[in-house]
């Protein structure tokens, strides 16, 4: 069945419900994108055939593949988004310099996203508490 590689990506993250960041599964994503490419090309071909030869019986198959394309898109997007939520949480847990072993698990684009997030957060914190700003990532537990 289609979309099996895509669901594996989701399971990989779901297993780590505590927010740990596993290594970026570049190979997994590549395989899902390849499946999407194949599905799309098959659909293009069948759509042309359905139009030019009036083969309306191909429509259910075209819809089937389209559902799988949408599914693969959703799985990839959710995988990447959930990883961003984990990475965002790391800023609050570890501060603005992440441990090396965590950075190794991030792809270049995730590091870039993290840098942008840090900047947004810093800008926001500077806007609080008068001239000095306020570091809201400190003192996250109440005083005794």
């Amino acid at each position: 069945m289609f979309c099996e590689k895509a669901i594996e990506l989701i399971r990989e993250l779901h297993r780590m419900s505590d927010g740990q960041l596993p290594a970026f599964n570049e190979d997994g994503i590549r395989q899902v994108l390849e499946e999407m490419k194949a599905l799309y090309e098959q659909n293009q071909s069948d759509v042309n055939e359905a139009k030019s030869e009036g083969k309306s019986e191909l429509i259910p198959t075209i819809k089937f593949r389209h559902c799988c394309l949408l599914r693969n898109q959703r799985c990839i997007a959710a995988y990447l988004y959930d990883r961003l939520l984990r990475i965002r949480a790391l800023r609050w847990e570890y501060g603005s310099v992440l441990p090396t072993n965590i950075r190794f698990h991030m792809c270049a684009e995730e590091l870039e996203w993290f840098n942008q997030y840090k900047k947004s957060l810093a800008t926001y914190m500077r806007s609080l508490g008068g001239e000095e700003g306020l570091d809201i990532t400190q003192d996250m537990k109440p005083p005794k």
Partner: protein
């Protein structure tokens, strides 16, 4: 990492695009019947040598696909209601919902049941009621046990819960642990 808050699953018949739970739920397979020919997809159906999936073929289909293909006005695919939502089991639930092993019968009893309402069935009102009443009947025990089991092995308490109930149990435990931490002066 307490700062990691994943996208929660949708409530009722909704589902959230980025929710890992919703994606996993919608991967559950349902016994289905293809109500028309699906040309050139025969390779997906292991028992057949045909190039096509023939009309009338029965196969297990993931929920996302069944939902995507289902049409109210045209017979494209029909989905069989899993037995846990059928009348026989609904009667069991109405007698005493607390005795059922919802992990074995599920594990997404509430989630999958809610999603089944997307397929037009004359039993939908009864199915919806059964799911709701089952939740109401079981919720109190889940909540009570999550608030009373401190620092102990909870596997026996959760093993018969479906995933929604396990999430509620976990939330209860988290609250209990935080409270205990505070009482011991360890929350600062």
């Amino acid at each position: 990492t307490p700062s990691y808050v994943p996208v929660p699953p949708g409530v009722g018949m909704e589902d959230n695009f980025f929710s890992l739970d919703d994606i996993l739920l919608s991967h559950e397979r349902l016994p289905s019947r293809m109500e028309c020919l699906f040309p050139r997809l025969g390779f997906l159906e292991k028992s057949s040598d045909s190039r096509d999936i023939q009309e009338g073929t029965k196969m297990e289909m993931p929920l996302f696909l069944a939902k995507g293909l289902y049409e109210r006005k045209r017979r494209v695919v029909s989905v069989e209601l899993p037995k846990v939502y059928k009348e026989g089991w609904r009667t069991v639930f109405s007698a005493d919902p607390t005795v059922v092993d919802l992990h074995k019968m599920g594990p997404y009893y509430y989630g999958l049941g809610s999603q089944m309402l997307h397929f037009d069935s004359p039993e939908n009102p009864e199915i919806a009621q059964a799911i709701l009443q089952t939740f109401i009947g079981r919720f109190r025990r889940t909540m009570d046990s999550s608030q009373n089991a401190y620092n102990e092995d909870t596997s026996a308490l959760v093993e018969r819960l479906d995933y929604l109930e396990r999430a509620l149990f976990k939330a209860g435990q988290s609250g209990l642990n935080s409270f205990q931490c505070w009482e011991r002066g360890r929350a600062s």
